[in-house]
């Protein structure tokens, strides 16, 4: 029962629309349902990395699984002596090029992945750039070392080494 003497409820006057919020820093969100990483908004760089992660992942789905199947199911590890690699597997330009592409793709994918892991766990404003730059250094070294390894192994049919 309402009291006829009670004052009428105060109705809030319509509020003017809130001013637009200042641009938020780029955020990397995780879906609560699937734990997938939500497509980043607000940073073109992060968006490109997000797409690169998925594109390299698709490439690796084919290249890495093919590499593993060929060298672990078709060939047995016991056969793959240094002679086998030098005179057969990497004596063919095709397989050397395929293996190099796989290596570059896996290094890129791993670099982006470890970068994400660091962003998840290293939160200190001073420690994060140090750890990230250490990663950039290691990743750069691995790209160079991997390429040198693929290029310098003498090939009996090609290099007169």
């Amino acid at each position: 029962m309402s009291d006829p003497l009670a004052p009428a409820p105060v109705v809030a006057p319509p509020q003017p629309p809130a001013p637009p919020a200042p641009a938020a820093p780029p955020r990397i969100e995780i879906s609560r349902t699937t734990r997938a990483r939500v497509k980043p908004v607000g940073s073109r760089k992060e968006l490109i990395m997000w797409y690169l992660m998925r594109l390299s992942g698709l490439g690796l789905f084919v290249l890495a699984l093919a590499h593993f199947s060929i060298l672990h199911f078709i060939y047995d590890p016991a056969q793959q002596t240094s002679e086998f690699i030098a005179t057969q597997r990497w004596n063919q330009f095709f397989w050397r090029a395929i293996d190099w592409s796989l290596l570059m793709l896996v290094l890129l994918h791993a670099f982006l992945g470890i970068r994400t892991v660091i962003q998840d766990y290293v939160r200190g404003p001073r420690s994060r750039p140090i750890v990230l730059w250490t990663l950039y250094l290691i990743a750069g070294l691995l790209f160079v070392l991997g390429t040198v390894v693929v290029l310098t192994l003498p090939s009996p049919s090609g290099n007169p080494a």
Binding site: T34, R35, A64, S82, T152
Partner: protein
């Protein structure tokens, strides 16, 4: 460090949470192997004898178990990665993410068990009088 580990293993989101945790562990494991693999292939040119010694370990029984674990990590990471890509590029599939996760395990077993048997063949080849 311990706090981080506790955080990683804390139970939060059923299948999605486990999918994420396994994806992360397998990813880091595969990366460590790739680094080792760059070094061992470097030895093919740098020190072929050392490489052949390492290969003897790779093709031993303990080495083959590690090889099977590497294959399992790779296969899981590949299948779950595909699931992530499907959900990301086709958000309506998020509703079915659990079904996708269990389907990926079915493929994992169907492909992985024969694969493991091939890798571990020196273990069982003698069993059938071969």
């Amino acid at each position: 460090m311990l706090r981080y580990l506790g955080y990683m293993f804390s139970y939060r989101g059923r299948e999605g949470s486990w999918a994420w945790l396994f994806h992360r562990i397998s990813g880091i494991g595969i990366w460590l192997f790739v680094v080792l693999h760059v070094v061992d292939i470097y030895l093919v040119g740098g020190d072929p004898k050392a490489y052949d010694t390492l290969l003897q370990f790779y093709s031993s029984i303990p080495g083959r178990f590690l090889e099977a674990i590497l294959g399992a990590a790779l296969l899981y990471h590949a299948l779950n990665g595909l699931r992530i890509i499907i959900i990301d590029l086709w958000p309506a599939m998020t509703v079915h993410h659990r079904k996708l996760w269990w389907s990926s395990w079915i493929i994992f077993v169907v492909v992985g068990v024969p694969g493991a048997l091939i890798i571990l063949r020196p273990l069982w080849r003698g069993w059938f009088g071969g």
